[in-house]
Amino acid sequence: MRLINQKPSHSKALVLGLMPFLLIVLMYVFASNARLHENEDDKLLPSFSHMVDTMEKSALSPSKRSGEVIFINDTLSSLKRLGIGVVISALMGLIISIPLGLIPLVRAGLSPFIAAFSMVPPIAILPILFIIFGMGEVAKVALIVIGVTPLIVRDLQHRVEEFSKEQLIKAQTLGASTWTLVIRIILPQMLPRLLDSVRLTLGTAWIFLISSEAIAATEGLGYRIFLVRRYLAMDMILPYVIWITLLAFLADFLLKKFTCKFFPWYENKDKA
């Protein structure tokens, strides 16, 4: 049978899907063992048991001074920054993109500006943000907002422009004004599209979060990995990276589930 017609069974697909993960873990264990065999103080590829030890000792047990658990503290403060930044970006994206996509006068007035503004590399204005907002939380959230909002706006603007002309005209013949068209037809249909857009931009939001934490913070996942980098503490960096990846995956998964649950019509929207 041709390769393009061979479809894996459910179990086979599962095994195939797990393979790359297993492979990379095996490769790591092999390489780590080899290096540790040469030099048991090697820091570059620590063994898994060593990573667990380190995490337990320095990240997961309460600190003697403040009684706080570093790992939980870091996670909570990073998630808080990310959450606030993404929610603000999403709301701004929604509020800006609907008039932009729907109202020709607004589009004519704002489109060039937004196109130009979204070309500014957000990391390059990070110093400006630190100067204006200080080294506190505001600057970090602001970086996420400035970096992510233009992406969401441009994505959602296209989604708004994709609404069929038939649908918009039909709504007008049913008596909709521009305002009621927005709140009854456009906005409710944009919400799941907004969640899609947030899922797509979440990766970018993490980049900005970790960058700003690396530069100025006193706690946070990004702060921690850049702090321990000085001691070549791969035994801490690697678990943190895995944890960040897991959080990102989880956020994506939850957003997807949320969309399916609260917008059951969304999956088949193109059939009507």
Binding site: E166, T173, L174, W179, T180, K269
Partner: protein
């Protein structure tokens, strides 16, 4: 006074003449079907009736007043596809029209007013045969049922003019026959005025009380856009016998030119 009055009406896009010097009127209660080869301007004419396009020059009156330059609740439209609101249930799709009309601020009704709108919408949906699928989403309906819903959406607004833009073009022949029966029934019961564009001459003849054939009469091979379409036939279809003889005559010219 006629519902629609048209006198010396022209439509041009730049150099291209689409419609050339049309003059006729449509009375309330007529069921006009517009046929013609593709590109003959019948869809452009429908868009002008809808308010999506405006005429280049000439007199174009709705109830004696100039046509509104944008779509309005007086003129309902049923498109071939893509005009249902996929986030609303069947019932909500029909209630929407009532709610938009009654509540300019929120476009939504509450309490007793909502209950009345609901009852009105259900009655409308039962009339088009969708009483059993009130809480389905449009995507769960078949093509024919989606068109029934689109008709119900428009009719609940009681439009003075109902425009149909090849509404049954995407449906199977069997379903199409059902839809023909439905639209004729609704037209009679609700005293509607209907203007329908179709590329199916049989359909045009079967449904209409009046058939308008759009076609280009003059053609300059050096400048194919220099002349627009005119109405080549304007046939009242009350007399069955006459209907058949005229059908044969037109069928030849139309199919020849459409090919």
């Amino acid at each position: 006074m006629s519902l629609i009055t048209i006198k010396n009406l022209w439509k041009r896009y730049g150099e291209t003449v689409v419609l050339e010097n049309l003059s006729f009127s449509i009375e309330a209660g007529e069921f006009c079907t517009l046929v013609g080869p593709s590109g003959c301007g019948k869809s452009t004419f429908l868009k002008m009736l809808l308010g999506e396009e405006s005429p280049t020059k000439g007199l174009f009156l709705f109830e004696g007043k100039p046509f509104p330059a944008e779509p309005s609740a007086e003129r309902g439209i049923v498109f071939q596809r893509y005009s249902l609101f996929s986030h609303l249930s069947v019932l909500e799709n029909v209630m929407l029209g009532i709610e938009l009309g009654a509540s300019p601020l929120l476009g939504k009704l509450f309490g007793k007013a909502k209950k009345r709108a609901r009852e009105e919408a259900i009655a409308m949906l039962e009339a088009v045969g969708l009483g059993d699928v009130l809480h389905h989403y449009p995507s769960q309906l078949s093509g024919g049922m989606q068109q029934r819903l689109s008709i119900a959406q428009s009719l609940v607004k009681k439009p003075k003019l109902l425009l149909l833009d090849e509404p049954f073009g995407a449906l199977d022949p069997g379903i199409r026959a059902d839809m023909h029966a439905l639209i004729l029934d609704l037209w009679k019961k609700n005293n509607l005025t209907v203007v329908m564009v179709t590329h199916d001459l049989h359909e045009g003849f079967y449904l209409g009380t009046r058939l308008l054939v759009f076609d280009k009469v003059r053609l300059d091979p050096q400048a194919p856009n220099a002349f627009g379409a005119k109405i080549t036939y304007d046939i009242p279809l009350h007399d069955k016998k006459e209907k058949e003889s005229v059908f044969k005559k037109i069928n030849q010219t139309i199919t020849r030119e459409a090919l």
